[in-house]
Amino acid sequence: MDLLALRRGRRKAAGPQPGPAREEVLLFLVADEIYGIGVRCLRQAILSAGLRDIPGGQHDALGEVGYRDGKIPVVKMGVLFGFPAPADPSRRRILVVEAGGRRFGLMVDGVGETAEVDPKGIDPLPEMVTLLDPRLFRGLFRHKERIVLLMAEGGLAAMEDIEAYGAGERVGG
């Protein structure tokens, strides 16, 4: 099935864990670059077929999709990032994220493996490499000879379009 078992608390430690705390990150594709997001904020990965534009929506990068009994806003990451649409859209997925008291989706061009990252190995994003709000990114890390841009779920949740999405589900009280 398409769903990923990424629920919080999946890994329960049997006792004290030695060494530095490593963070589990889900890797995903936008265009042909690799991005990551912390697994702890992920709830599910669903097919993107149900994605639709928001009636009267003012931002191309935002759509919505039915989720459970309601609907959630979805950030089209390729549009947000200014990358062309993938040649093969069949691998597109919507990652359902809960952060900042909001539930929203990220439409990505493909979902990959998970990686364990030492927080000390996350470099800050250098200046001037993006015109987007730097709060959207936690930083960069190296994974198997590639550079991964790590998204900041809190920054995504604070995007104006998500905050302004009237029907955006509030979660966690």
Binding site: V30, E33, F81, G82, P126, V129, T130, L131, L132, I147
Partner: protein
């Protein structure tokens, strides 16, 4: 008491002012034209490698690269000078390289891609000409001098100013 004739002080060989050492320039090509940067202000030259493209980046930023454990921004000098990126139809021969330079005020290291590295030359200071107001469409503010290399002009760039400025430049051919 006879005074010391003033002229006697001028006898004998007068000491020559200490000759300034020649300036070492790394000469490279952009759009078929020769440019130079001072070797003393250059960290290293490395082979070109595909950058990780960052989202919504400025036109002259190619992305980021990994180098010796660090992640550095990669600027395209070609794009900075208003030229299209090298593609299958771009005329000319290219062996792209990356110059590692440090930029004030914080001495941050970044990579700058060039079309191809030409050679290192040593220039006597008196052979370096003050630039006219514009050379190849580049204002003299971004140029430290112009030299002659076998009948071809070499534009000695002030890379710190060029890479710190947002002024649009279009290289004239």
């Amino acid at each position: 008491m006879a005074g010391i004739p003033t002229l006697s002080l001028r006898k004998g060989p007068s000491p020559k002012p200490a000759a300034l050492p020649p300036i070492q320039l790394l000469v490279f090509q952009i759009g078929g034209k020769l440019f130079g940067v001072e070797i003393a202000r250059l960290g290293q030259i490395i082979d070109f490698r595909r950058p990780t493209r960052t989202p919504r980046r400025p036109a002259y930023v190619d992305g980021v690269i990994a180098h010796r454990g660090a992640i550095l921004p990669l600027y395209s000098l070609r794009r900075r000078l208003g030229l299209a990126p090298i593609g299958p139809g771009t005329p000319g021969e290219f062996r792209q390289a990356i110059l590692l330079v440090r930029l004030p005020p914080d001495d941050r290291l970044l990579g700058v891609s060039v079309d191809s590295v030409f050679k290192v030359i040593a220039l006597d200071r008196e052979t370096i000409l003050t630039p006219p107001p514009k050379v190849f469409g580049i204002r003299s503010e971004f140029i430290r001098g112009v030299a002659n290399l076998g009948g071809r002009p070499v534009v000695w760039l002030d890379q710190e100013r060029l890479l710190s400025s947002a002024e649009e430049i279009t290289l004239t051919t």
